[in-house]
């Protein structure tokens, strides 16, 4: 029951081979290899789209620590355009590079907190940490046509061109190596995609959160694996440091954390688009936040000074794992969701 399908196994093997050689943001190569197509169902022109498909793809991208903004510039825009019945062929081919500009400073992790406003087809407001923004040709922007921040109704989804008048970017690198920007829109011309976008946003974020968790799982496995290698090779006091019992036990705890994370991701992947989706994904993100922190911190600690260097891959993995807690809701956010959802279930 836990086996991958033949197609998923092939996809995984292909990704492993390709990512081992890839350097830097592998957007166009991944698109050419058809990886974006694996994120969407056949009905939308893809050849995958299940929770398990997402888990396979993102676990490998996380393991390879590749900075490609596949969640923000392919998965999320594709799901949202799909919800509006639009054609995804450009997204799947990797030629239509969009970025989702939804989050705002005051929203923290709440999807319904939109202060940006739209009237007469023009958007005014600020969007925060839009990953992939510097290379996007178009933005999917959420804005309120009615109601107040926190209302479920009144949030519309719009397309805004990257070179639209009234749109400006403050671009920067994120600490985990992605390219992002804060957006300022003032009367930027926009085309309506969805009149009431929150339900579609929530479904898309569920998939994105699962993808993020699988990415973190891959990075955790790699960090634990590198730590295991290091403990068997690094010599101090005339012996491999893994022979010190206190360190061996720490490694055992790291591996336990990885196994727990793997199970949580499997469960969430199986639940995607099903009745238990929300609670399983909240549980997964909370668990990955906690177990990820343990693995990232201990991986650095057991490496000593080397673990703190920018050049050695471990540091980048640790940053990816920790900063995942700042994407799509942190440990506490998903704990609160889990509590609320389990009350609902009872």
């Amino acid at each position: 029951m836990f086996d991958l399908t033949e197609e998923q196994t092939m996809l995984k093997d292909m990704l492993v081979r390709f990512l081992a050689e890839a350097e830097g943001d592998a957007w166009s190569e991944l698109a050419e290899l058809g990886v974006i197509g694996a994120l969407f169902p056949e009905a939308q022109g893809g050849f995958g789209g299940s929770g398990a498909d997402l888990a396979v793809v993102f676990e490998e991208i996380g393991r390879a620590c590749n900075p490609v903004p596949l969640i923000e510039c392919a998965l999320l825009p594709g799901l949202l355009l799909g919800a509006a019945g639009q054609d995804l062929s450009g997204v799947i081919a990797g030629t239509d590079k969009l970025a989702l500009a939804h989050a705002e400073v005051a929203a923290r992790y709440d999807l319904d907190w939109v202060e940006t406003e739209v009237s007469d087809g023009r958007i005014t407001g600020d969007k925060a940490v839009v990953t992939g923004a510097p290379t996007a040709a178009r933005f999917l922007v959420t804005a309120r046509h009615s109601g107040a921040p926190g209302d479920r109704n009144g949030i519309g989804l719009y397309l805004v061109d990257a070179d639209a008048p009234g749109l400006s970017l403050n671009a920067y690198q994120t600490i985990d190596g992605a390219q992002a920007a804060d957006l300022t829109l003032s009367d930027a011309p926009a085309t309506l995609v969805l009149e009431e976008a929150l339900p579609a946003l929530e479904r898309a974020y569920a998939a994105a959160t699962l993808a993020q968790c699988a990415d973190t799982l891959g990075a955790m496995e790699q960090a634990a694996h590198m730590t295991r290698e290091y403990l068997t090779t690094r010599q101090q006091f005339g012996r491999a440091i893994g022979t010190f019992q206190s360190l061996a036990h720490r490694l055992a705890d790291m591996m336990l954390a990885v196994e727990q994370a793997r199970s949580a991701v499997l469960l969430a992947a199986a639940s995607l688009n099903g009745p238990e989706q929300d609670i399983d994904i909240a549980a997964c993100k909370n668990l990955l936040g906690r177990m990820g922190r343990l693995v990232a911190e201990d991986a650095i600690q057991l490496h000593g000074g080397i673990g703190m260097t920018d050049e050695y891959a471990l540091g980048r993995l640790a940053k990816r794992i920790i900063m995942a807690d700042h994407r799509f809701g942190d440990t506490d956010h998903h704990l609160e969701r889990f509590i609320a959802l389990s009350k609902g279930a009872a």
């Binding site: 709440d110 926190g150 920067y172 994120t174 600490i175 992002a180 006091f237 050049e311 506490d332």
Partner: protein, 396 residues
């Protein structure tokens, strides 16, 4: 039992506060609070200010130009400096080399080097660790071979903090390769402008350039730069480490960090309310604060014993472990507090034309979280401290 400080101690605290209010520019304190890396000139400026006031070397005897503070005064001084977000005093000359020269250096070495540490004429760095000698420091391989009135030094040091600013490095070198590990080591002072010394930066995960590799190729060092006796360096190195451990609990840094977290969490909004009102976040903050309050008393218990003439020995391991755990937990709270806005990357390695977004005036909290992983690695890792502590407990 009275846990309050004496009126004299409280008067001293007021004196320190008044000095800081007057001498520390708010612009500099602001950069420290926002975890921005300081330049050489910033450190030199602050050293000079402290030196003017006679407080640059709190632990040195008066005879050498120090303040000779009692352990309690030192504790108060460190705490107030941290709370005011004063730059950290660069410890290598002041807290490490100084005490070694005072105890083991020749009169000529003391007369020459000590005033230069105070005046800022020399910037020292610490050349202990090597690629193969971290926790197992005595495994160091850098070789010094006597050649007339010089030593010829070959080898490599690493993790040398702020070595890029330094003109002098004190090194542990191997002078007798045939002796037992600890018995063939000597303590040498090396001028970094000597031909054959090369400093290569190491970039850390927060993007900062704070550590370096230092390479030695046939570097000629005059024999008068040997401290104490040849092959007795391990004794001096161990003595230095006891001084490295002053202020090890970092209670002041924790207090300052916790205050910063509360300030940030009051600025951050969640559904229109301050984050500090969120019960989960508030519980996390409270938990650390409870630990810190107890830790401050533990620290004072140990420090006041030292004041009565008992050196904090084994207890320094306890202070190191608990103190760094609390400090690291606080950096974790700070990054959590800012949420998605922890992502923008502020570092000297990244060029940015427009200032990075920092809506909560929090500074580089994610960078600080990653940078401070070092606290449990250097100065004797927390695993090594647990070894020392548990061995002493089990010995009874």
């Amino acid at each position: 039992m009275d846990l309050t400080l004496s009126p004299e101690a409280e008067a001293f605290r007021a004196e320190v506060r008044a000095f800081l209010a007057d001498a520390l520019p708010s612009e500099l304190a602001d950069r420290v609070r926002r975890h921005q890396s300081l330049g050489k000139a910033d450190h030199e400026f602050w050293h000079a200010k402290l030196n003017e006031r006679g407080w640059l070397a709190p632990n040195w005897p008066k005879a050498f130009g120090g303040a000779e503070m009692s352990a309690i005064e030192r504790h108060i001084f460190d705490e107030e400096c941290a709370l005011a977000h004063a730059p950290r005093v660069v410890p290598f000359g002041l807290s490490m080399l100084g005490p070694v020269l005072q105890k083991f250096g020749s009169k000529a070495q003391q007369d020459y080097w000590l005033p230069r540490i105070l005046s800022g004429a020399d910037w020292w760095c610490q050349g202990y660790s090597e690629p193969g000698a971290g926790s197992d420091l005595a495994a160091l391989k850098t070789r010094a071979v006597r050649d007339g009135d010089h030593y010829i030094v070959n080898g490599q040091k690493t993790w040398t903090t702020l070595g890029q600013h330094a003109n002098m490095i004190f090194c542990l070198v191997r002078t007798d390769p045939d002796a037992k590990k600890q018995e063939g080591i000597s303590f040498l002072l090396i001028d970094m402008s000597t031909p054959g010394v090369e400093v290569r930066p190491i970039k850390l995960i927060d993007g900062g350039a704070e550590v370096n590799e230092v390479w030695f190729t046939d570097v000629r060092v005059p024999v008068e730069n040997l401290v104490g006796e040849e092959n007795k360096g391990w004794t001096y190195a161990k003595y230095l480490l006891t001084h490295e451990r002053t202020n090890i609990s970092g209670v002041g840094f924790s207090r300052a960090g916790l205050a910063a977290v509360k300030r940030i969490a009051a600025n951050v909004r969640q559904r229109g309310e301050a984050l500090i009102e969120n019960p989960h976040f508030a519980a996390r903050v409270a938990q650390v604060e409870i630990d810190l309050r107890a830790m401050a008393v533990t620290n004072l218990r140990i420090v006041s014993k030292a004041a009565a003439g008992q050196a904090p020995g084994i207890e320094s391991s306890l202070l190191k472990i608990k103190g760094t755990q609390i400090r690291q937990e606080i950096t974790d709270l700070a990054r959590r507090a800012v949420g998605p806005m922890a992502m923008p990357f502020e570092s000297e390695a990244v060029e940015s034309n427009t200032p990075l977004p920092d809506p909560f005036d929090a500074g580089a909290v994610a960078g600080s979280f990653f940078n401070n992983r070092k606290l449990s690695i250097f100065g004797g890792s927390n695993e090594i401290q647990r070894e020392i502590y548990s061995k002493s407990i089990l010995r009874g």
